[in-house]
Symmetry: C2
Subunit: 337 residues, 2 copies
């Protein structure tokens, strides 16, 4: 059961192990006929190279560590897909971890990942612990924070301002004639994207001289549909004259929409509903839900491309890449009749 190793292949081909190594990674300096012969023997023997040994020897793990809050979210899944797509082309492999939106989990994951000597780390911005930050700074590898624009970045950034994007959406609600606008989201004590969106909500209302206190933000992320429904029910009970609601995400907004439909409030005639993120549900629901469009895939591919550039030395500045995030009005915020 002892595994076939490179020297076995070499022996079978009548060459040295080094030649086999070169044949496998196609590094030029090898005769095409030799290469073909070796590859045939590799296939015949079923040789599978040992990348642990290879990484150890070359001091290149071929890994990029990626941290997302949750996989169960199409945005981060798309970001991971975009990263994977680009990095695979560069011969790199994703080492994916998810934090469940918890900083201490993130710290542990960062530590574990760094033991694998990733060549870069890509982190979805969230409040990091001081130690996590220190670990990343000491790692001596490129660090890219994504999905936000941190005030104190660790390294590079590929993201957008959740705060301004949310503010723009609230402004759209104001422009469509709404004045008594509520917010449904996550509780206030977390440095997450959701908290930034809440700040954007407050920004926009204050700027317009409106009351920003209609907020129901009580649970930790992730927020789901049923929370949106329950929160909207509660919000309408507490502030019955509410004429619009901004939700931290589209699933939450869909829940809020169903709450209105169950209670008998018409959307958008009586209440406008807005979400965030352009999830599938916000396009397909009846009425469709106005949302902030942002492409998780683009964040992934841009971060992936930046990673490749940083690793091949073709980019050495500290980068701040902003991706587009824009308000897309749909039926749920049509100007009331």
């Amino acid at each position: 059961m002892s595994r076939i190793k490179m020297s076995d292949v070499a022996k079978a081909a009548g060459v040295s192990a080094m030649t086999v190594s070169r044949a496998l990674k196609h590094d030029g300096r090898i005769a095409p006929t030799t290469r073909t012969r070796i590859l045939k023997i590799v296939a015949d023997l079923g040789y599978v190279p040992d990348r642990i040994a290879g990484s150890f020897s070359s001091r290149r793990s071929g890994f990029v560590g990626v941290l997302v809050p949750s996989l169960n979210n199409p945005h981060f899944a798309e970001t991971a897909a975009g990263l994977d797509e680009v990095l695979t082309r560069g011969g790199l492999q994703l080492l994916l971890g998810y934090t469940n939106y918890r900083a201490e989990v993130a710290e542990r994951l960062i530590e574990t990942m760094l033991e694998r000597r990733p060549e870069a780390m890509i982190i979805t911005f969230d409040d990091h612990t001081a130690r996590a930050r220190q670990l990343l700074l000491n790692a001596g590898i490129p660090v890219i924070e994504i999905w936000e624009t941190p005030t104190k970045p660790i390294g590079h950034v590929v993201g957008f301002s959740n705060r301004s994007a949310a503010a723009a959406m609230v402004q759209h609600l104001i422009d469509s004639g709404r004045r008594r606008i509520g917010f449904i989201g996550e509780r206030d004590d977390k440095g997450t994207r959701g908290a930034e969106r809440r700040r954007g909500f407050i920004d926009a209302l204050k700027a317009a001289g409106l009351d920003p206190s209609r907020r129901l933000a009580t649970v930790a992320p992730p927020i789901n549909m049923m929370f949106g429904r329950d929160a909207m029910t509660a919000l309408l009970e507490k502030w019955p004259d509410t004429d619009a609601v901004m939700c931290v995400s589209d699933p939450c907004a869909y829940g809020a929409l169903t709450a209105c439909q169950l209670i008998g409030r018409r959307v958008p005639e009586d209440v406008a509903v807005a979400g965030f993120g352009d999830f599938e549900i916000s396009r397909c629901s009846l009425p469709s839900i106005s949302t902030v469009v942002v492409s998780g895939l683009e964040i992934g591919t841009r971060a992936g491309e930046l990673t490749l550039q940083l690793l091949d030395g073709s980019c050495s500045d500290q980068m701040l890449i902003l991706v587009d995030a824009y308000t897309e009005p749909r039926e749920s915020s049509k100007i009331a009749g």
Copy 2:
């Protein structure tokens, strides 16, 4: 910039590298005082062990390779979460890859993963290429197929029969008085879970002596909401007297539901709609959508536990673990009239 290594820590502590190694993995044979002293020095120096070297030496990668069709699907995300939860406890790390439902991508991923010498492989069942199968068989590690019950398993299985589960749901539609039942899903040439569900649909209708030909299954997975809407629109155009539709998944069913609402067919009075998978949307939609409940999390945790048992030798048989999948009737299939 040369990294601190174990021997540096050893020197600082006045012990041998081996003692540092033992202190870090807490393997018993070490004096508590020595251990404390070493851990303090590790922290002070910011030493991060090199697991590549460690894996190379111990011949244990600490990885478990996991293949899912897509991350952008709450089921597989939950399965990954369940696996992660259990395997982390066992000191193992997930190496996650996704295939986009494509066998050739799966083959490439399996090959790449095996180079990392995973200690086990967990594969979401789909049609494997012959080479993928061979690679897995030759790897000499436990292989667990999940989310299905393959007729010719490679190793162990943790799953359920998508075919019978779908058949049971169709039977429920029949029991609720429906006779002209359609199916919306993925095209017929793939060995996926969706194709199994289509077979289950046909099984149930044939068994009841009903016509199973009302099928719209034209695109490759994954199926989305808008496809469900378009397909339902087309299906009702082609077979206007359809009184129920079974959809390959809940998002697809939600799309079909909105198609009915747009056209003016009442659900469930005129048409019953059924989905698969107990996605959030099927609980929250109005009406709620009848579905087949199956826990991706459970599949993950069960597969994780099995992995640990296989690796510590406490289980050596070829295992077939069935998880529960049951029909949950909701409003969308209430008995008409």
